[in-house]
């Protein structure tokens, strides 16, 4: 009976336990589904590949994380990096962009008009700008603390931006921010693996899974241009926007050259053919499936409009009947190129304002690939194709004029590119056709710019400032306090071919402590930012709800002005002789040593000491008291005679001694007087 009862109780216990487990499982799964659907944190990763006309390939990684506002969802994050959320909360950041770049974006070959170039071509070194949500008097304090935190987070010397000589507060260039925006850049900052490591640690899958597993460090840093960028936007919960909360966009843009030995092709007869490449040949790895917690993981291959136009021309010229033309569905094989994987979606740009051909983007989804079946996309060229990327309306370049260590001039020149020949007439404003150009330039305080010497040349003819400059805002530099900031809005007449500006400066002097250890290399003037607000760098696609989910493509559809950065200028300043303190110390001390040495030598050297001792011993019999007395009197009299038996030459020598002493002492005193 007892055994039966215990068995029954055991059964009961088991049943209760099972029920409990089911209940827990149900709650967990329901909460899990709630988190997935309505919880709000999202992460998506994308990669865009694009061939360039100069035999290089662009790889653009885009990782996007969104987190809803913390007051509604608590302070726990499961996808969003906590470091960034804490940064936003602590420093009240509304918007921030931080980029680490090495290399120069070649606008002539890689284009300057498309949204990718406008948003991702950054000046070399570190560039940071941030908008704060604090009263204007506190913005500088928050900026300083932000720079220190970022320098600890990203292993870079961003803390050098804390001093007021490095950052500025532009007002016209960026969107209106009522004085809460600060902009700083470090042109000489080196970018290496130590900056990429913490950047990758912000991603939920780190660099272990998904698209970030492609990032082979030697391959990335072998590129011609690499830039990692972090863009942060935060909006308050008060607004009713759909995307309130914190948004983090991390992009890595790399321009690589596919090397022929990696593809396995030994010899290509036609060297005009672009090199064939694949993901495994340029990165050395394949994509081992997607990051499991990513909402979407896609790879895109973009053929820009220049290339598409060229391919269509070649087709038309090619009289032979080609079974699969470019526009047909057979994307796998084509008369010009071949892609190794069939694309899942094709996006074609519509309604291009310039009336030229439109670019094409092939989309590949990484969802169905995994570790055992990795994703590798390859592009093989069959015939030589030459095209050019669309460039910004004017090509901006900057250079120095003058020579010597006293003065010089900075010149910015805007040259026409081939895309500026057919300027649309939609830029007619007030009956005049104008091209608006914005220039933003920051010059360090030791380059003392004279803004009254600003000269404008249009079509190589000097013009009055009022003709061309619509608005100019200048913040002159203060020595050791703030740099010189110039923001100009120009309205160039439409028919103008080129424009140039020159600005004269004097080179200043730095205190010896302010020189960096490699002072003889020179000092940098950061890149100037040239923007063309009347042109929109955007691509329109046909309406597709897929596009809203794709960060890269929705970014392409955003309206943004065409931007380009000029080069960084290197100015040699006069440097002092850094070994001078050492030289002064050694010379002074040698002189003092000689002074004291000779003084003591003169005073203490005893000539004929033994003779004196003997004589004193001999004279000791006479009576030592009298000897003592005679010695004392001799001392008081200035020591001309020491012994009663001293001969005249002896006293003569003593007199000489005295003269020498006086001479040395007077030299020392005059030295002190004149040089002390």
């Amino acid at each position: 009976m007892a055994i039966l009862l215990s068995r029954r109780s055991n059964l009961l216990a088991v049943v209760v336990l099972l029920l409990c487990q089911l209940f827990l499982y149900a709650t967990v799964s329901s909460s899990g589904s709630v988190l997935k659907q309505g919880g709000g944190e999202e992460f998506s990763e994308e990669l865009l590949l694009k061939p360039f006309p100069d035999r290089k390939v662009l790889a653009h990684f885009h990782f996007q994380s969104r987190a809803p506002h913390s007051s509604s969802h608590g302070r726990h994050h499961h996808l969003f990096p906590k470091a960034i959320a804490q940064l936003v909360k602590k420093f009240r950041v509304k918007e921030m962009e931080l980029s680490f770049t090495q290399g120069r974006w070649r606008y002539e070959q890689w284009g300057g008009f498309d949204p990718l170039s406008s948003n991702n071509a950054k000046p070399p070194g570190v560039e940071l700008w941030a908008v704060f949500d604090v009263p204007q008097s506190l913005v500088d304090v928050y900026w300083r603390n932000l720079t220190h935190t970022l320098s600890g987070l990203f292993c870079a010397s961003i803390n050098f931006l804390e001093s007021s000589t490095t950052y500025s507060a532009p007002e016209l260039t960026f969107k209106p921010s009522f004085g809460n925006l600060r902009y700083g850049t470090l042109p000489r900052e080196a970018v290496c693996t130590e900056n990429l490591t913490p950047w990758l640690k912000l991603l939920p899958c780190r660099d272990k899974a998904g698209l970030s597993a492609l990032m082979d460090r030697p391959s990335i840093y072998r590129g011609f241009y690499h830039s990692q960028r972090l863009r942060l936007t935060s909006s308050e919960s008060g607004s009713d926007e759909v995307d309130s909360g914190i948004g983090l966009d991390q992009t890595l843009t790399v321009v690589l050259q596919p090397s022929s030995w990696r593809t396995g092709k030994t010899y290509s007869v036609e060297t005009n053919i672009q090199p064939s490449w694949s993901i495994s040949s340029i990165f050395g790895r394949n994509i081992p499936g997607k990051c499991v917690i990513a909402k979407s993981s896609n790879v895109y291959l973009q053929l820009d409009n220049g290339l598409v136009g060229e391919l269509k021309n070649l087709e038309r010229e090619n009289a032979k009947y080609v079974a699969n033309t470019f526009e047909s569905e057979g994307f796998q094989s084509n008369h010009a190129f071949k892609i190794s994987v069939t694309p899942d979606k094709v996006f074609e740009e519509v309604d291009n304002l310039h009336g030229k051909s439109t670019s094409v983007i092939y989309g590949f989804s990484v969802e169905k690939y995994s570790d055992s079946q990795p994703f590798d996309l390859g592009l093989t060229w069959k015939i030589p194709v030459v095209w050019s990327c669309q460039q910004a309306p004017l090509h901006a370049s900057r250079f120095l004029m003058g020579s010597g260590n006293e003065r010089g001039a900075i010149a910015i020149s805007l040259e026409p590119t081939e895309s500026s020949e057919g300027l649309p007439t939609s830029h007619i404003i007030d009956g005049r056709c104008e091209l608006r150009v914005d220039i933003f330039q920051v010059v360090p305080w030791y380059i003392k710019v004279y803004f009254h010497t600003l000269q404008v040349f249009v079509d190589k003819q000097p013009r009055a400032m009022a003709d061309v400059v619509d608005k100019i805002r200048v913040s002159p530099s203060k020595d050791k306090v703030s740099p010189g900031v110039m923001e100009m809005i120009l309205k160039l007449p439409c028919g103008s071919k080129s424009a140039a500006f020159s600005l004269e400066f004097d080179k200043g002097f730095l205190h010896i402590d302010e020189y960096p250890p490699d002072a003889n290399q020179g000092f940098d003037i950061p890149s100037a930012l040239i923007s063309f607000p009347s042109f929109n760098a955007r691509m329109n696609f046909s309406e597709d709800e897929f596009l809203n989910n794709s960060p890269i493509l929705s970014k392409f559809q955003e309206t943004s002005p065409v931007l380009s950065y000029t080069e960084v200028l290197l100015i040699p300043l006069t440097t002092p002789d850094f070994s001078m303190p050492y030289n002064v110390i050694t010379i002074t001390c040698t002189v003092f040593a000689l002074y004291f040495g000779s003084l003591l030598n003169v005073l203490r050297r005893r000539v004929d000491e033994e003779e004196r001792i003997l004589r004193s011993r001999a004279g000791h019999k006479a009576g030592w008291i009298s000897q003592l007395l005679s010695r004392l009197s001799a001392k008081l009299r200035g020591r001309p005679q020491e012994q009663p038996t001293s001969s005249l030459p002896h006293s003569f020598i003593s007199f000489r001694l005295v003269l020498k002493i006086l001479l040395v002492a007077s030299i020392a005193v005059t030295w002190q007087y004149y040089f002390g």
């Binding site: 110390i585 001390c589 203490r604 007087y673």
Partner: protein, 314 residues
């Protein structure tokens, strides 16, 4: 730089996480445009091991590596805004390993080709760290809690191990090479200790350092600090500064007083009796010429110097 990175890699491999390591590298060699192997640093000619790896975190680099920041790290005196990853954050019970490599000389270490750190400054800073390490027993305080090993004796030079003709520079020095060879044989679970000295070593000092490092790393869990700044020279905890009385403030730099003393030394060798200047020499009884006033003590000499300055400045 390969020296520091090799030891950094070894330390990480043996279990110390990045949060407890402060790495200071001066040059940007890995991603320099002139590096044939971008993002790669090797410490051996065979290029088998990429020391830069995938996960390096450099806390101070470029212009930030200077004597001031180094001393701030050791003494813990930072500005308020400096982030935690750049601070040493040590307390009682911390064991700190300090590895410095670069150029230096007799009683100084060189930073960035433009400034030097004197051995007494370094000694003071390390003494400050040890003092904060609190309550040690009396027999430990006798040893000051510091064990220092240099790659060469005072007056010796420290040499590189071999040249990599592909890259064009010497990649590692002998001291680090043998130290690493010792460490590559260990893993996280070994029990090497200071008292175990096994094989005859080609470089005794490096073997001792290896054993010391093993003791530090494997038996405790210390925060560590590395630098790529100056050569390891044998310094003493009480560096031999000049034994001037210090009663009067001497308005010259310490180097100049050295020069002055050295020149006295020179004069002494020329049979000038300057015995009375140095305090630990005996003063001869018979003094002639009435110069006893000056000859008695160095304090009066300094007085004379002062007076001459005063007269000169009037």
């Amino acid at each position: 730089m390969a020296n520091t990175l090799s030891l950094y890699r070894t330390v990480k491999r043996l279990g110390i996480p990045d949060e407890r390591i402060i790495l200071m590298l001066v040059d940007d060699m890995a991603c320099n445009a002139r590096n044939k192997y971008p993002a790669q640093v090797f410490n051996n000619e065979n290029h088998k091991l990429n020391l830069y790896g995938d996960n390096v975190e450099v806390d101070y680099h470029g212009y930030e590596v200077n004597a001031e920041n180094f001393l701030r790290v050791l003494t813990g005196r930072h500005k308020a805004a400096v982030p935690r990853s750049k601070r040493l954050l040590s307390d009682e019970g911390s064991h700190i390993l300090l590895y410095m490599t670069g150029h230096g000389g007799d009683e100084f270490l060189k930073f960035q080709d433009s400034e030097e750190l004197q051995s007494h400054d370094l000694a003071d800073a390390i003494q400050g760290v040890v003092d904060n390490g609190g309550h040690l027993s009396s027999c430990h305080t006798l040893f000051s809690g510091v064990l220092a090993i240099g790659s060469s004796m005072k007056g010796e030079n420290s040499y590189s191990h071999h040249l990599d003709s592909d890259v064009g520079v010497s990649v590692v020095d002998r001291f680090t090479f043998y130290t690493l060879a010792f460490f590559e044989k260990l893993n996280m679970y070994d029990n090497a200790s200071l008292s175990s000295q096994t094989s005859p070593d080609p470089a005794g000092a490096s073997q001792k350092l290896g054993i010391f490092l093993a003791w530090v790393l494997l038996s405790h869990n210390p925060p560590l600090c590395f630098g790529s700044t100056a050569a390891i020279q044998q310094y003493r905890m009480e560096p031999k500064t000049l034994s001037w009385p210090g009663i009067l403030p001497i308005p010259v730099y310490s180097t100049s007083v050295t020069v002055v003393l050295q020149s006295f030394h020179f004069l002494q060798s020329n049979s000038v009796n300057v015995n009375c200047i140095l305090p630990n020499r005996s003063i001869p009884k018979k003094i002639g010429g009435g110069m006893e006033v000056l000859g008695f003590s160095p304090i009066l000499l300094i007085f004379l110097f002062y007076i001459s300055i005063l007269i000169g400045s009037l």
